[in-house]
Structures are given as structure tokens and as C-alpha cells.
């Protein structure tokens, strides 16, 4: 359904049930008890640890061609070590960020210079949100245009952000 002024102006007269049906058809709501998407993957990236700086995601052609249905920031309580990036000397995986460190981050879905969705790290942590995903319907973006903004103070150590991405396509 394409959103029009007529649709918006008719909504206050609808019942709650009718409203929810309309929200689903407009892509404003979705069933949170279903799997968000058919596929998921873990993405990890080492952050620029300077307050106010952006860390852009590595290009990912699979995600570029997909519809991204949900994102999740994984914290150290959920998974102690990230499964992607290792210390080159010890060979050990770097630890995931604590929930306090995740609260310093905002992930931005972006297209070119335009930010489309702001995802505060804490809001997309499955454990802290009682299992509710941060549901999206993002397509036709370049994953390499998306970035993480460190809004808070430096994290210290080797900060690695670990993100789960749920996608179709």
C-alpha cells in the first residue's frame, strides 16, 4: 500500500484492530514472534575509538542485494568474544563490548549522505529488549555507506562492535 494523505487522515476514525491491519500493510508493524528473516549473519568491525567519529562498515555485496529485516547489537553478556576479529599476536578473538559501551554507539543505515534509520546500540540489544528485534525493512542501500557513530567517550582497549544482521534475498 502506498501512503497518501487520505489514508493518514482516515486513520483516527478506525478501531485499534483496523489500525493494526493498516500498519502491517503499510510496513509499519510486523509480527515480532516470527523469525525476522530467512538468513542472518554476524558482522564485526573494529571501531575508531575517538568520541564523535564514524566507523564505516566494510562493503558487503550480499547485504547490498538483500532486504535487511532486523539488526542486533551483541554485548559481552550475550557472547563474551566476537567470532570474527582476532588479536594478531595471541590469536584470541577480541571481547565484545559491554552493554555500557554499546550505550555509546548509534548505528546508522545510510544511503549516500542521507541517514535513513538511527539505531541506538542499546535499543537493538536483544537481551535488553526482552527478545524484541529492532525490525526494519531496508533495501537498495550500500552496506558500506552505513556506519557506527561513537557518541560517548573513548571505550579503550580494542573496541570491536559485533552486529547480527537478519536479511532476505
Amino acid at each position: 500500500m502506498i501512503l497518501t494523505t487520505d489514508i493518514v487522515e482516515a486513520m483516527p476514525a478506525k478501531t485499534a484492530h483496523e489500525l493494526m491491519e493498516e500498519y502491517v500493510s503499510l510496513g509499519w508493524a510486523a509480527d515480532y514472534s516470527s523469525p525476522p528473516a530467512a538468513n542472518s549473519k554476524t558482522v564485526a568491525i573494529r571501531l575508531n575509538d575517538i568520541q564523535g567519529t564514524r566507523t564505516y562498515m566494510f562493503q558487503d555485496e550480499i547485504l547490498d542485494r538483500s532486504v535487511i529485516r532486523a539488526v542486533e547489537f551483541v554485548d559481552s553478556t550475550s557472547m563474551g568474544l566476537n567470532p570474527k576479529i582476532k588479536d594478531p599476536v595471541s590469536g584470541d578473538y577480541y571481547p565484545n563490548l559491554s552493554s555500557a559501551d554499546i550505550a555509546k554507539l548509534v548505528f546508522y543505515f545510510s544511503s549516500g549522505d542521507q541517514d535513513i534509520i538511527a539505531v541506538p546500540g542499546n535499543s537493538a540489544n536483544l537481551r535488553l529488549q526482552n527478545g524484541k528485534h529492532f525490525l526494519t525493512q531496508i533495501e537498495n542501500i550500500r552496506w558500506g555507506d552505513c556506519y557506527i557513530l561513537l557518541t560517548g567517550s573513548a571505550i579503550g582497549g580494542v573496541p570491536v562492535a559485533c552486529i547480527r544482521v537478519w536479511y532476505d534475498g
Binding site: 493518514v8 486513520m11 509480527d31 514472534s33 535513513i116 538511527a118 524484541k132 525490525l135 525493512q137 557518541t151
Partner: protein, 139 residues
């Protein structure tokens, strides 16, 4: 079906406690060019304290989680109607309400007409901000 919000577009917005913090005063939202167009339809929103995001993207200090139960928020549409009036901030924080996001009957809003008020000034400092994530679609 057990529905929760699906986010098409979102923008972090803030209301700042400019000047002295006092009960009975309105603290208006800061203008965001992205949301000041007439074709923006707001259909949900959530709030964040420093526990959710320690510092706003603007660099400003976000109110402490302990202060969330002292703040109410009012949203006004383009016709100046207060369609959400004095909503408790605490209940807009996702993790306080089981991960759900408050859905709204969609409205075109006038962001700079929207405001927050405090019911108790304890712990809230001048220039701190209340941070929101506004979820919207485009006509």
C-alpha cells in the same frame, strides 16, 4: 500475530533544558531539517536516557535514567493539536516496557511545537537533553 513496530525511517531528536530547570515550564524540541518537511508522518516513538545512549549525537549530555520518571512529553500536530499530552517518559523507554515501542495514530507533526515538562527538578541539570527516536514514513 504479535506485532511490534517496524521501522522505515527514524531520526534522533532532542528537547533541551535551556535556562533554569523548573516545573511548569515547557522545554521545546530542537528543530531537525529532516523532520520539518510537511510530508513526514510520525507513527511511533521511543525515549532514551543516558543508560540507553550516554551522549547525544549532538554531543550533549543525556538525562540520567533515574530522572525518567520526572518528565512528561507532549506532541503537537501541524494543526497545533496536542494529540499526545503529558505522556510519561519512563514508559517510552523500550527496555522499561518489555522491548515494545509506542505506536501512534499517525500524524504530521510540528516538531518545534512539541515539548517536555518536568514534574520534579531533582537531578536534572541545565542544558541536559531528553533524547527520542522518532519513527516516521514519508508521504
Amino acid at each position: 500475530m504479535f506485532n511490534n513496530i517496524l521501522i522505515k525511517n527514524s531520526q534522533l531528536v532532542e528537547a533541551q533544558f535551556r535556562g533554569s530547570v523548573a516545573t511548569g515550564r515547557k522545554y521545546y524540541f530542537t528543530d531537525i531539517p529532516n523532520l520539518s518537511r510537511n510530508n513526514i508522518v510520525l507513527y511511533g516513538f521511543s525515549a532514551l536516557t543516558a543508560t540507553q545512549l550516554s551522549t547525544a549525537p549532538s554531543g550533549k549530555t543525556v538525562i540520567a535514567a533515574a530522572d525518567a520518571d520526572q518528565i512528561v512529553v507532549t506532541l503537537r500536530d501541524i494543526h497545533k493539536k496536542e494529540f499526545v499530552y503529558q505522556h510519561p517518559l519512563y514508559n517510552l523507554i523500550r527496555s522499561n516496557v518489555g522491548g515494545f515501542v509506542s505506536l501512534l495514530v499517525p500524524r504530521r507533526i510540528n516538531l518545534t511545537d512539541c515539548y517536555v515538562e518536568v514534574t520534579d527538578t531533582t537531578g536534572i541539570s541545565t542544558d541536559e537533553v531528553v533524547l527520542f527516536n522518532f519513527f516516521y514514513d514519508i508521504l
